[in-house]
């Protein structure tokens, strides 16, 4: 069925009459980015109500369009003010685990160090695997009206695939192998989320924030240039995911302040009732022990490693609280779970 009755000539041609606002975006300094096409009736500020069809924002609706099942009707449910910029950055900063890591710098390590690195990589490849599934799970619920958020999530899926593969590569490239599966890493909480904002605050802000704090200590954890580069490149990607989550939370709190207690509730569960270590927990013994060995420099320096691990944990918790504060949830500092509270810096 055509959208309009057929004309006498047998042609419809109604599609020629839709362009009341000609758009001529011009490339900016960073090329033709989504920012450049965020124009007039096509821009995100012109978003009208939700739409359960596949119609992208700014596209003229078909009267006979079928619905595709429920999705978020409110922009606040999925939006982040920086998603346009973050998506473009993601596209520009894609990297290759095959070619951009100096694998030739890997060198034989003492057995216990190699095992510790392989154990850490076993955990990380597992964590990153879930980090790709989780945004995937939510994509069908992101309205095409907010497609920039969807594009960003699709770029995140690609990032997480690369992280999954790079840590597997490291474990299998230097005379080691994969070791013990992680367990109780707090990953179920991510899959269990029943709301996009719940998922985002647990995955983007908490779990990826913890991983990001750890990657930033990659200079201490990594033993070779290859490992240090893996952590640096991965941290660059995690920064984007984290930034999306922080700004999404901020958008929700700015536009729907009545959701504040609900969000605290999700965090109460993750920090207290679950494993206690939060999502992406690094206190699972094989992970904790391997980190202590890597940070200390060997099994015989485990105690020194333990002290550095505690500093890592402290850094994770305080950076986490700082991010929540930036998002507008500064009162989390007073409500944080007991295993987190011990590390909180005084204001």
């Amino acid at each position: 069925m055509a959208a309009n009755p057929t004309t006498e000539s047998g042609l419809d041609l109604s599609w020629l009459n839709l362009y009341d606002e000609p758009a001529s975006a011009t490339p900016g300094k960073k090329g033709m980015t989504l920012k450049e096409i965020n124009l007039g009736q096509y821009g995100e500020v012109a978003r009208k109500g939700g739409d359960m069809t596949t119609r992208l924002r700014g596209v003229h609706p078909r009267p006979d369009a079928q619905r595709f099942g429920p999705n978020y009707q409110s922009k606040a449910d999925v939006w982040s003010e920086n998603c346009v910029m973050l998506y473009e950055e993601a596209v520009q900063r894609q990297w290759s685990s095959a070619r951009d890591i100096p694998w030739d710098t890997l060198q034989e390590l003492p057995d216990e160090i190699e095992r510790a690195m392989c154990q850490l990589c076993t955990m990380l490849t597992e964590v990153e695997f879930i980090a790709g599934d989780v945004p995937g799970q939510w994509m069908p619920f992101v309205s095409a009206q907010d497609f920039e958020a969807g594009l960003f999530l699709m770029s995140q899926i690609m990032d997480e695939a690369r992280h999954t593969d790079v840590f597997r590569k490291r474990a299998l490239a230097n005379g080691g192998g994969l070791l013990a599966q992680g367990a109780n890493l707090g990953l179920r909480t991510l899959i269990e989320a029943r709301d996009f904002t719940e998922m985002s605050v647990l995955m983007h802000v908490q779990a990826e924030g913890f991983v990001q704090s750890m990657f930033r200590m990659g200079e201490l954890i990594g033993q070779t240039d290859a490992e240090k580069r893996i952590f640096r490149m991965s941290a660059q990607d995690e920064s984007r995911h984290l930034a999306f989550g922080v700004m999404h939370l901020k958008y929700v709190l700015d536009t729907e302040p009545e959701r504040r207690e609900e969000i605290h509730h999700y965090l109460d569960k993750a920090e207290g009732d679950a494993s206690g270590g939060g999502s992406g927990d690094v206190t699972f013994p094989p992970v904790f022990e391997s980190l202590c060995i890597l940070l200390g420099g060997g099994v015989d320096k485990f105690d020194e490693g333990l002290q550095k691990f505690l500093l890592l944990r402290k850094r994770q918790i305080n950076e986490y609280l700082h991010r929540l504060e930036v998002a507008g949830l500064g009162d989390r500092r007073q409500r944080v779970g007991p295993l987190f509270a011990q590390f909180v810096d005084p204001v």
Binding site: M1, W15, A23, S24, M32, Y42, F68, F288
Partner: protein, 408 residues
């Protein structure tokens, strides 16, 4: 601040009385035989809650904890994870220096065993040592025959190697004004392509959590497909908004609804096969529709991406039919549905008129354009049938709508 100073400051900042011990820690302590008050004793002696927690997670018994707190020797971890019986001594090396260390290079020894049926219901990394008790993560796809194709291992790395950025890899400044109706036709085509790409990316994303870790490489490859589709959607939208036009009318929804309605992965990919193939033909022959060098380059990049997707489609179907011959006839149902709905979309004036205008060279040459489009549709169907045949699938009867296109 030095590490020691920082830790001293941290320890000074907490006391046993100020720490709220989580219930889970108390439950764990009870399981390990810690007497009531032992946690508080540890805290009062200056140990942090984190250290207590690590001791509990590490399985330190109540007796061991008591002895340590009474001045005994510290309980050392046993590092059991160092002794798990996974394959050790693996040194993967790049088999193709141009491509670098590829995921295919990791498939050595037991790490290359991709089982026909995967039984672990957790997110375990294939080849690592399974934990005895783990939660079910909810995956539903555990059969290799359903999802696998050997080609995805090299295609994953090729997708990363061949990445492109719509913002900077296309010559936006080369775009020059087109006749108004031609520009509108381009914009309508771009609108439809953008919607279909975004929809397919979102749809495939939703299937990722169904696939278990046994088929890791497939999930990695699908991630590149999803990302490719995001990029395509972005690029088509940008083209529509950069040359004096705009976005047109929403694409017809029949075909996309059919894909959305799929109840299983084989049904999903069978339905997607139809349009993936048709789009590949379109992009490969993009010169017929392109109005300038910019569009020719855009279509060529999309063709390269779509070819990888099609390689997967063909290889997966072939592998699936070989492993599950009893499901061969069932596939006809899905292909028939996909063909029917896509042909219905093709018959929509919003879809065929802009293409006819571009093929004909203007509104005044629509008859010639329609004739060329009819021939092009035949080509799309012919190449689709050829793709099916490469997968050893022979459609005795295409859907009637497709048959009609071929007959006219």
């Amino acid at each position: 601040m030095s590490t020691t100073e920082a830790l001293a400051k941290m320890a000074a900042g907490q006391s046993a009385t100020s720490v709220d011990v989580p219930q889970e820690a108390r439950d764990k302590a009870r399981q390990l035989g810690w007497e009531d008050g032992l946690i508080e004793l540890a805290l009062s002696k200056g140990h942090s809650l984190q250290e207590v927690w690590q001791a509990l997670r590490g399985g330190v018994s109540g007796e061991q904890a008591k002895q340590f707190l009474a001045g005994g020797q510290m309980v050392r971890p046993e590092f059991n994870w160092m002794k798990v019986p996974t394959e050790w001594g693996v040194k993967a090396r790049a088999s193709d220096p141009e491509l670098g260390l590829a995921i295919g290079d990791l498939n050595i020894g037991t790490y290359g065993d991709i089982p026909d049926t995967w039984t672990n219901r957790s997110e375990i990394a294939r080849g690592s040592f399974p934990n005895a008790i783990v939660e079910d993560m909810g995956y539903t796809i555990f059969e290799k025959a359903i999802v696998w194709a050997d080609c995805i291992v090299p295609r994953y790395e090729e997708a990363i190697r061949d990445r492109w950025a719509p913002a900077t890899d296309l010559r936006w400044t080369s775009l020059a004004p087109l006749p108004e109706e031609t520009e509108k036709a381009v914009c309508q085509v771009m609108t439809e392509l953008s919607e279909r790409s975004y929809f397919e990316g979102a749809l495939l994303s939703g299937w990722l959590p169904q696939i278990s870790y046994g088929y890791l490489e497939l999930k990695l490859f699908l991630s590149t497909v999803i990302y490719d589709l995001a990029k395509m959607s972005e690029a088509f939208r940008k083209r529509a908004l950069s040359n004096g036009g705009g976005l047109g009318l929403q694409a017809p929804t029949d075909y996309m609804r059919a894909a959305k309605e799929a109840r299983s992965y084989p049904e999903l990919v069978a339905i997607l096969f139809v349009n993936d193939s048709a789009q590949l033909t379109f992009f490969k022959h993009g010169d017929l529709f392109a109005q300038n060098e910019f569009e020719r380059e855009l279509y060529a990049l999309c063709a390269r991406d779509r070819q990888r997707h099609m390689d997967y489609q063909v290889d997966r179907l072939k592998h699936f039919l070989y492993k599950m011959p009893e499901r061969r006839e069932e596939q006809n149902l899905y292909f028939n549905k996909g063909e029917n709905r896509l042909a219905k979309d093709w018959s929509d004036a919003i879809v065929n008129e802009p293409l006819a205008l571009l093929l004909g060279g203007g509104r005044d040459k629509m008859d010639a354009g329609m004739a060329k489009l009819a021939e092009f549709r035949k080509l799309q169907i012919k190449e689709y049938v050829e793709n099916l045949e490469k997968a050893t699938f022979f459609r005795n009867h295409l859907n009637g709508r497709f048959e009609d296109i071929l007959a006219n």
